[in-house]
């Protein structure tokens, strides 16, 4: 009995190891911001079907994936959620070729039917409104919200209406959807998670600040041609269409 168990264990171990070591020939290794998972997953799937080339995407916070890249000197494509970490990578000479290709814009989220008649950023300073805003250090929408309010010169007034600060965009959506919070500022790309009880109000053009998403080829790439081919696919009409589906806007040059 015991011997049988041991034999089974050994076979199991060997099987497990060999199945784990099976690799396709030259897979592309991509590092992407976790918030981009929706469109990136879809693009990778289509690309793999078309070309037979596997693309392995390591997702994580933009800072985390940059740490992984720097310490392992590995990776073909880098696509963080915003420009901050892309610039850091550029400054250290890690990017061979890069481009900002889509952006996502903030919107004001209000209850369905807009009972408080919020028409834009300036209406958020009306005394008595209850607001939920993103934390100013831990998530990207936070500092952008602050910058827009400062641009409109209403930051100090609006702050008086802030009832709660949240750490994720999902929670901001939830607050407006199911509590007594009147409005919040979230990414338009969060639209897929918008509940039935909320709607989006666009922000005035003169105050709007957007966050751009970059993509670049890393200097550590071992197959530059294939990396470039994949990047071109992301930037093709087909790739951009998928990003648009998730609420991103194309940067027109």
């Amino acid at each position: 009995m015991k011997r049988n168990l041991l034999v089974m264990l050994t076979i199991f171990l060997i099987l497990g190891f060999t199945s784990c070591m099976k690799e396709t020939k030259n897979p592309i290794l991509m590092f992407a911001g976790a918030g981009l998972k929706g469109p990136v997953d879809e693009i990778v799937e289509i690309y793999s079907k078309k070309t037979g080339i596997t693309v392995n995407v390591v997702y994580g916070g933009s800072g985390t994936i940059l740490t992984q890249i720097k310490n392992t000197k590995k990776g073909d494509i880098f696509m963080p959620g915003g420009m901050e970490h892309f610039k850091m990578a550029q400054d250290e000479g890690l990017i061979v070729k890069g481009v900002e290709f889509v952006y996502h814009e903030p919107v004001i989220l209000v209850k369905k039917g807009n009972p408080k008649h919020i028409k834009g950023l300036l209406d958020l300073k009306v005394p008595g409104l209850k607001l939920a805003l993103g934390d100013e250090t831990s998530l990207a929408i936070g500092p952008i919200t602050k910058k827009m309010l400062e641009k409109a010169e209403i930051y100090t007034d609006v702050i008086k209406n802030v009832l709660v600060r949240e750490g994720t965009v999902s929670k901001l959506v939830l607050d407006v959807d199911s509590t007594n919070i009147d409005a919040s500022i979230v990414w338009k790309t969060a639209e897929s998670q918008f509940g039935k009880n909320v709607e989006a109000v666009p922000i005035e053009k003169e105050y709007l600040i957007v966050e751009t998403v970059p993509v670049g080829i890393l200097k550590f790439t071992e197959n530059k041609d294939e990396a470039e081919q994949f990047m071109n696919f992301i930037l093709s009409d087909e790739g951009i269409k998928i990003f648009k589906k998730y609420g991103y806007e194309f940067i027109n040059r």
Binding site: L9, F12, L13, G16, F17, S19, C20, M21, E23, L29, A34, G35, L36, K37, G38, D41, N56, V57, V58, Y59, G60, G61, T64, T67, Q68, N71, T72, K73, K74, T168, V169, S170, A190, S192, Q193
Partner: protein, 259 residues
């Protein structure tokens, strides 16, 4: 004595209520349709299979190491033993994230390059998941086994030897059977730790969909891409799975530990 019983009971009830409150909030924020949808999704099926496979492999490997290490550490006395013991325990005291980071740097360097030439890739690969789990769980399992090994009365082993058994036979016929319970406890702790392992896996093996996607990594991907339904349903399912593991292993322990 009575009073202390009462106080103890109150504390027990408070703790149980706290745990139940947390768990039920998870259950309440999900409905059956979403749960079933998640259960059927390709991503979930992959991650549960992947989690079970990797955790069983790392568990088996770790058990081998643990038994042998525990054997040495509980029997022999040698110079620098305290230091060696502390080194074995390092992964317990270090946050898993740091353990993962240290091996990310190690395998990102020359050693990783040599290993890769030999066809062994730990970075951002399923093998890295197994490695991360193995490193994290081994000290826990080893500790459990070492405790029971050192509790065994030396006289049994001495008598065994005096009756002509070799060292190996003494280990196999006396030490191991007497340690069954400790080994099984080590297995429960190790298995649940391996399945729950997140920090080291995230750093070393990366969060790659359908490739290094263990259950906790799937939850992480769900949360960070705004798919809370997916994340919460996997959380609920993980709770069920861990409960099943506990019941399963406990059942086996009850049946087998009778000496």
């Amino acid at each position: 004595m009575r009073k202390i019983d009462l106080i103890a009971q109150i504390f027990l009830i408070i703790f149980v209520l706290i745990v139940l409150a947390g768990i039920s909030s998870l259950f309440l924020s999900i409905n059956l349709d979403i749960l079933i949808k998640t259960l059927r999704s390709k991503e979930f099926l992959f991650s549960i299979k992947f989690s079970l496979t990797t955790s069983l492999i790392s568990l088996a490997l770790s058990l081998l190491f643990s038994i042998l290490i525990a054997y040495i550490l509980s029997k022999e006395d040698f110079i620098g033993k305290k230091i060696v013991e502390n080194i074995v325990d390092v992964p317990i005291f270090l946050p898993p994230l740091v353990v993962g980071l240290s091996f990310l740097i190690l395998f990102g360097g020359k050693l990783g390059y040599v290993l890769e030439k030999a066809g062994i890739t730990f970075l951002f690969s399923p093998l890295g998941v197994i490695f991360a789990q193995f490193i994290i769980i081994t000290p826990y399992i080893e500790r459990n086994i070492e405790v029971v090994f050192s509790k065994i009365n030396k006289r049994y082993e001495f008598i065994g030897k005096s009756m002509g058994l070799s060292d190996f036979e003494v280990f196999k016929k006396i030490t191991l059977p007497l340690s069954k319970e400790g080994i099984l406890t080590g297995l429960i702790v190790g298995w649940s730790r391996a399945i729950a392992e997140f920090g080291a896996t995230l750093m070393l093996a990366g969060a790659t969909k359908m490739r290094t996607e263990t259950l906790p990594i799937a939850i992480f991907l769900g949360i960070s891409s705004g798919d809370m339904d997916f994340a919460v349903s996997i959380g609920v399912l993980m709770l069920v799975i861990s409960f099943l593991i506990l019941l399963l292993v406990r059942g086996v322990v009850k049946q087998n530990v009778s000496y």
